[in-house]
């Protein structure tokens, strides 16, 4: 995880430098040198940890194929969380959930009797002292689903938002998605909201190999995004000063594709996925993973998983569901209306009983 962040930081620093002086080749040379130095430091750290670990006693909690390492003093607290985590993972990922057994997960509480144990497992969860069980469960689920999703095919992973995990945020909040669609400044989101399925496909990033800078935004969107950058020279400056659209496009191309802000937030994608998994029934996720081999587009794979004829019908089903979840934000609920009337009567009655009249 941290390596990836390091690269993006370098990229951004590189783009920010004046483009005329640095060619692309020099940039990639410098990054390669830095990553090798980082790798050498990492191996040294691992060798030191394994020596310290031998001296400390800890247990392995098993739930199905899942193996969680924890210090003896906190095993009683962690065990129930591991069980419920495993159940959630199995419910969502079906058979693929067994992949979680390939790696061990380590859990440590802050200030536990045994102190900080340098586990060699890449999935170490450090939690505050005596955390509530749901917190432990949520972290274990996240680690578990990360392990399972590591082995997803690149096409699925690049589309699916990293936040996707059983019980994750905003999986079923269609009303939040509705509000986003209705109020999003992006043209693709707005036309999707109005009914243009092609726009929905682009907004949800299902359009396959197309060039995101051109597919995801129209001219106004591109200018709006570039305008949000800081005061910079070159294409960015020209675009900000109402230059031609090409300047905005060039400015956007400086950012790596996966860093470009998608027209719709991950919540929208997650809601689509949720609909697919619900429609697909048990083992839907397994089918989604196995359909990678058939070289379908991500949209076709989703349609297959959801046992729906075509991508369009899936998208229109999704759109219909979102529209149906329109939140009644402004309405006065019957409860509060009656409460107000009741309070009016009660307070009014108080005045009638008032002793003012003596």
């Amino acid at each position: 995880m941290s390596r990836r962040l390091l690269c993006t930081a370098l990229w951004l620093a590189a783009c920010a430098a004046p483009a005329a002086a640095q060619t692309r080749a020099e940039l990639s040379q410098r990054i390669a040198r830095l990553t090798t130095a980082f790798a050498r430091a990492e191996t040294a750290r691992l060798r030191a940890d394994s020596a310290a670990r031998a001296r400390v006693t800890f247990d392995t909690i098993r739930a199905g194929p899942m193996r969680v390492l924890a210090a003896r003093s906190i095993v009683r607290a962690v065990a129930p969380a591991v069980d419920s985590a495993w159940r959630a993972l199995e419910a969502t990922f079906g058979l693929s959930a067994r992949i979680v057994g390939q790696e061990t997960i380590a859990v440590q509480f802050w200030g536990q009797a045994e102190g900080n144990i340098p586990f060699d497992s890449p999935n170490t969860i450090n939690l505050p002292a005596a955390p509530p069980t749901e917190l432990v469960t949520r972290y274990v689920i996240q680690q578990g689903s990360r392990i399972v999703r590591q082995t997803e095919d690149t096409q699925l992973t690049s589309w699916l938002s990293p936040q996707f995990a059983p019980g994750g945020p905003a999986l079923d909040r269609l009303d939040v998605v509705y509000v986003e669609l209705a109020t999003s400044p992006r043209s693709k989101a707005r036309s999707c909201f109005v009914g243009d399925l092609v726009a929905c496909r682009a907004a949800l990033g299902l359009a396959g190999r197309e060039d995101p800078v051109r597919a995801w935004y129209d001219a106004a969107d591109r200018r709006a995004i570039v305008r949000r950058f800081g005061r910079l020279g070159g294409d960015v400056g020209r675009c900000q000063r109402d230059g031609p659209d090409e300047a905005c496009e060039a400015a956007l191309r400086l950012i790596p594709p996966e860093q470009l802000p998608r027209p719709l937030s991950p919540a929208a994608q997650l809601s689509l996925l949720q609909i697919v998994l619900d429609a697909g029934g048990p083992g839907a996720y397994d089918r989604l993973r196995s359909s990678a081999a058939a070289k379908h587009s991500i949209e076709e794979r989703l349609a297959l998983t959801a046992r729906v004829a075509s991508g369009d019908s899936l998208l229109s089903a999704w759109r219909a569901k979102v529209h149906a979840a329109r939140p009644h934000t402004v309405e006065v609920s019957a409860g509060s209306a009656w409460a107000a009337v009741l309070w009016g009567v009660v307070l009014g009655f108080l005045a009638l009983r008032s002793t003012r009249w003596r």
């Binding site: 109020t183 707005r190 106004a220 200018r223 934000t329 402004v330 006065v332 307070l347 002793t355 003012r356």
Partner: protein, 218 residues
């Protein structure tokens, strides 16, 4: 009998009622000024909704102000005359207070209708982007309910004797003082907090004030 009470109350409050009605009519119109496509012909919807929301804060304040002023003009003359005239009238006291309350509610209908008309005019006059809708009637209903609750509260307070008003203020003052002492002694017992919260949560009287006062929303 009711007609006469209504007439006197109308005579006492007609000037300030007119001002309130004008404000109630103008408020929705002002709140939709921000709903226009920007220079790129696009609707910056978050911006617009934020603008409408800030304008929306004025509705509960206006409802409460209208209710307060009406309650004061209802009981003002009686207070000045120490209620002798009201007491000498041949109707039971609760009947007199009930008629006064009814007359107040009828007068309160004026600002409510003004808000409703203002909202209707405002929503008719603005071109809304897809996805946004205008809710004039719901806004007016919420305004009416808020005004009713506020009017009933102020009506009860100003009808009460100075003694009861004193008791009520004393209790509130006492609570705040005790709360201060608790804070100073940095125990984290919070008396006022949950009580205040209850006022604004559902069964509480002021819950109607905390709704979304938005003429235009998703």
């Amino acid at each position: 009998m009711f007609r006469q009470l209504l007439y006197t109350q109308w005579k006492w409050s007609r000037l300030v009622l007119l001002i309130i009605c004008l404000a109630s009519f103008a408020l929705p119109l002002l709140s939709v000024q921000g709903v226009r496509p920007d220079d790129l012909g696009r609707f910056d919807i978050e911006q617009m909704l934020a603008g409408i929301q800030t304008w929306g804060l004025l509705y509960p304040i206006l409802a409460a102000a209208a209710a307060l002023i009406l309650a004061m003009t209802t009981w003002g003359p009686d207070h000045r005359g120490k209620h002798i005239y009201a007491l000498s009238l041949p109707i039971p006291r609760w009947h007199y207070a009930l008629l006064r309350f009814g007359a107040g509610c009828v007068l309160l209908a004026a600002p409510v209708v003004a808000v409703w008309l203002g909202a209707l005019v405002a929503s008719a006059a603005t071109r809304l982007p897809a996805g946004l809708e205008a809710y004039p009637t719901i806004l007016a209903m919420r305004f009416a309910l808020a005004a009713l609750v506020a009017y009933a509260a102020f009506f009860a307070i100003s009808a009460g004797t100075n003694r009861t008003a004193g008791i009520v203020l004393g209790v509130i003052g006492g609570l705040v003082v005790v709360q201060m002492i608790l804070l100073v002694a940095d125990t984290n017992i919070n008396l006022v907090g949950p009580f205040m919260l209850q006022l604004f949560v559902w069964p509480g009287p002021l819950e109607i004030f905390t709704g979304r006062w938005m003429l235009i929303d998703v």
